[in-house]
Amino acid sequence: MVDIQQPPVDAVLVGFGWTGAIMGMELTEAGLKVVALERGENRDTYPDFAYPRIADELTYGIRHKLFQNLARETLTIRHSPRDRALPYRQLGSFLPGTGVGGGGVHWNGQHWRVLPEELRLKSHITERYGKRFMPDGMTIQDFGVSYEELEPYFDQFERVCGTSGKAGNLNGTIVEGGNPFEGQRAREFPLPPLADVYGASLFASAAKNLGYHPFSEPASNASRPYTNPYGAQLAPCNFCGYCERFGCYRYAKASPQTTILPVLLKKPNFELRTQSQVVRINLDSSGKRATGVTYLDAQGRTVYQPAELVVLCAYQLNNTRLLLQSGIGKPYNPATGQGVVGRNYTYQMTGGVLVFFDQDKPMNPFIGSGAGGQVIDDLNGDHFDHAPLGFIGGGYIGVIQTGGRPIQQMMLPKGTPQWGAPWKQAIKDHYLYTVNVQTHGTVMAHRDNYLDLDPTYRDVFGQPLLRMTFDWKENDIRMTQFVTTKAKEIAEAMGGKSIEVKMKQFGEHYDTRIYQTTHNVGGAAMGEDPRSSVVNRFLQAWDAPNVFVMGSSVFPQNIGYNPMGLAGALAYWSAQAIRTVYLKTPGPLVPA
């Protein structure tokens, strides 16, 4: 029952965060008439992230003002297919965004690429260690696209973002000061690296002395005033310490608002509709072609928006959910191993080592940027021989000092009382003198970690919630123990007076209460085989050639790095295929 029927458009974008902005720009440049539908509100630097109101940890960091309202729409979570899933009622482990700009507003700006071998992980592991090295139940796959093919698109997205860093591999030549393990770059970063805080430089010295290769983490927090290829400008980051969870008041963090929207929103062939909740992708009678989308507007009216092309840019969780609700692709069944939509859901494995210093070494944690810091990549990917270790994957280690906010970023020794005089004394003793050496690593796909629709719970619109079945598997615990133990060695060499290791243990279950990154990936895996992927290597749905799926939804397993750099590059890569091939000859870009 449709209340309003809109005139048809060439392309409709579902969701308007990073990939929505990228696709909006690309498709309007190709001359298409594009409508973007965003469920949340309009947001811009002024007034929504204006100084000084944005520097309010309670409102934005704790009460999550910029994030999804779980009372209206959430998901259910369980550890295994035998359990009953319950609604995620309080934001904890991951923080889905909403509103114009999506996660691009409140991310940290940690902007990586991908390790070349991670794009063909299954083949690589099979070649190096043999098929049986992957434990039973692990369902990792190849992406179907190579690093060389994506290189220009990584570069393109970094130029749009003004990413600050130092190249370590320029056209095959290893360059001092950069990451010697990275996939090769055609050119240097658009901006030089951010300055190091004291704790980061201590980490770098300690790591170097132990034989590792520290470098500046690539940061989409501008280190200089910058003008990107669209003409949009960024101001330099001033290390205010209010990055992730906050919008940047200073136009220094790359976001859709700072890098793309000043140009895109003015285009005559682009229209943005906010407070428009897409509930279904409509298919024709064959079920093999989308005719448009149905959404609910701010007044709750049902609106049908016909379109030639539908692009899902609604974030990994919502993209998967919409595919399931709309009947695009066969839903995954863990019992049979058949089906594709919802399979290969993975997350990110994190750990850390706190280093407590004496009061002659002030770390000044409040000097924070989203992505500035020193890291090592030596223990990520397959950069070390895994054969004797019995796991695959790895992670980066480093000191990335994002701030010293009093409610959430107070790093105190275990056992410190949570209030009262001893708590205050602990703050006096430790607040200025503590750093965290963090580890950030891979999670491999497993047949029991997947997404489907919940049979019981519904959102405020009456739609079934997405159900997440996920728990840690032994491979990844083994990995994090190895990497975090190495991190401990570096931490011990930093000259602190004591350390404290935070590391997951075998048998430990996934705890949704504790924040551990919003790097949810998978559910709509990309690949070369339609029996194990939802989209082809151009992010085009096998089952509906005029539907494309963006974001980390398409990762068949998670990489060691933060996913946004790869998600952005894949969006530009897919857009290029749409512009140069699909629009001329609509239809499957890859034979099924």
Binding site: A50, P52, P262
Partner: protein, 417 residues
């Protein structure tokens, strides 16, 4: 595409209509003749003037409510004499006092654009009724006789073609003097060209925005500006050091960003030829950077020393973008050191932006509209006065302190608006 019969004998060529469209942008007709949320040129915008509120009129070619019945010479008469087709006199809020300089050719191109390039919109004019005696429009004849210098622009044969083009644009379509020239007791501009005295473009205050001197003054005028910087400013609303604020941001956004490079260079050529209009005394040799870096204020702010009056306010509100040396960031946040707007005699613009904020325009070549947020909700009159006094008295700035009363006056006006 017009559906109403045209008063003109034959339709103008597309080139003439296009030329008229360009001239209308240069003249910024839309700034007054298009209401907020209104149709282009359909009028209805209330314009606040010192003599009261005047509503702009519908200049679309609508036959009943617009100027659809105007012939070419009717249009010319409005622009050259300030007299409408039905004989009523316009108030110089419609700056015929500047548009009178236009050539016949340009006036007819504008006419062609308004007749053929603009969609007719039915929108009856909102009556403007000022109180007696100002409401008696025929008295404008007296005002015009006393103060209105009629006549098309005539080129100065001793100057280059570029300079003359610049003078033509500035004195005519640009109507820069309407804001930037101080006015006399009867509200007349004290000078209408560089020929009649030091007052031309010497700076004025309207609506709590201080329109800076465009003359060659060192501290408050354009002496330190290169021609390229002027062109950049008019094209993008920003230079490496400064940003357009308040009404000028709108002027850039709606008008000057669309001028050709040649026209922008002509304007720069002309403005840079103007001598100083104020006596500013001896200069300080330091560059802006040297002055700010060496400053005691910088050193104190950098270590969080709040001993200096206004420094706590500066640290809590301004430092995050403008930094402890006032230097801001290249082409994004204005440099406060030796900044002409900061050193203006009349601090009302400064008070205005601290209380209400301001943003750069979004232009074709510089789309990012950087915004300075408003602080009026947070700062008292005393705090605003203190921080502005600090800014005006340090980093090589030597302008007078600002008082609480001055802040209070501006705040009151903003509340009324």
């Amino acid at each position: 595409m017009a559906t109403c019969p045209r008063a003109q004998a034959a339709p103008a060529s597309p080139e003439r209509v296009r030329r008229g469209a360009y001239l209308a942008r240069a003249g910024d007709c839309t700034a007054c003749h298009t209401a907020r949320e209104g149709q282009p040129f359909a009028g209805g915008l209330p314009v606040a003037t010192p003599i009261g509120r005047i509503y702009s009129t519908n200049i679309t070619p609508d036959l009943e409510t617009g100027i659809g019945r105007y012939r070419g010479d009717d249009f010319v008469k409005v622009m050259r004499e300030g007299v409408a087709k039905d004989g009523h006199r316009l108030y110089p809020a419609m700056p015929y006092t500047s548009y009178a300089r236009l050539s016949q050719e340009d006036l007819l191109a504008l006419y062609a654009y308004f007749m053929q390039g603009v969609k007719p919109v039915r929108n009856p004019n909102h009556p403007t009724q000022l109180s007696w005696p100002l409401g008696v429009r025929s008295l404008m004849a007296v005002w015009n006789a006393l103060y209105f210098k009629k006549g098309e622009y005539t080129a100065d044969p001793n100057k280059s073609a570029l300079w003359n083009r610049g003078a033509y644009l500035v004195q005519g379509l640009g109507h820069c003097g309407e804001c930037h020239t101080p006015r006399g007791v009867a509200g007349q501009e004290k000078a209408v060209s560089e020929q009649n005295g030091r007052h031309y473009l010497a700076g004025a205050t309207l609506d709590n925005w201080q329109a800076s001197p465009l003359t060659g003054d060192r501290v408050t005028g354009l002496q330190a500006w290169s021609k390229d910087e002027l062109v950049e400013f008019l094209r993008t609303g920003r230079t490496a050091r400064v940003a357009a604020l308040g009404v000028m941001a709108e002027v850039v956004g709606k008008s000057t960003q669309y001028l050709t490079d040649q026209d922008l260079m002509a304007i720069a050529e002309y403005l840079k030829s103007l001598p100083p209009s104020h006596d500013e005394g001896q200069g300080h040799a330091d560059s802006a950077r040297q002055a700010s870096a060496a400053s005691a204020a910088t050193l104190a702010l950098r270590v969080g020393d709040t001993g200096m009056r206004g420094s706590r306010v500066y640290l809590d509100n301004c430092n995050a973008c403008h930094r402890s040396d006032g230097s801001g960031a290249n082409r994004t946040f204005p440099n406060l050191a030796k900044n002409e707007a900061v050193n203006a005699k009349d601090p009302s613009s400064l008070i205005h932006i601290v209380l209400a904020g301001s943003s750069m325009p979004s232009t074709q070549t510089a789309p990012s509209a950087f915004a300075m947020p408003d602080f009026g909700w947070r700062l008292s009159d005393a705090e605003v006065a203190d921080v502005l006094s600090l800014v005006r008295g340090n980093w090589g700035n030597h302008a007078a302190a600002v008082s609480r009363d001055e802040v209070g006056r501006v705040r009151k006006t903003l509340a009324i608006q």
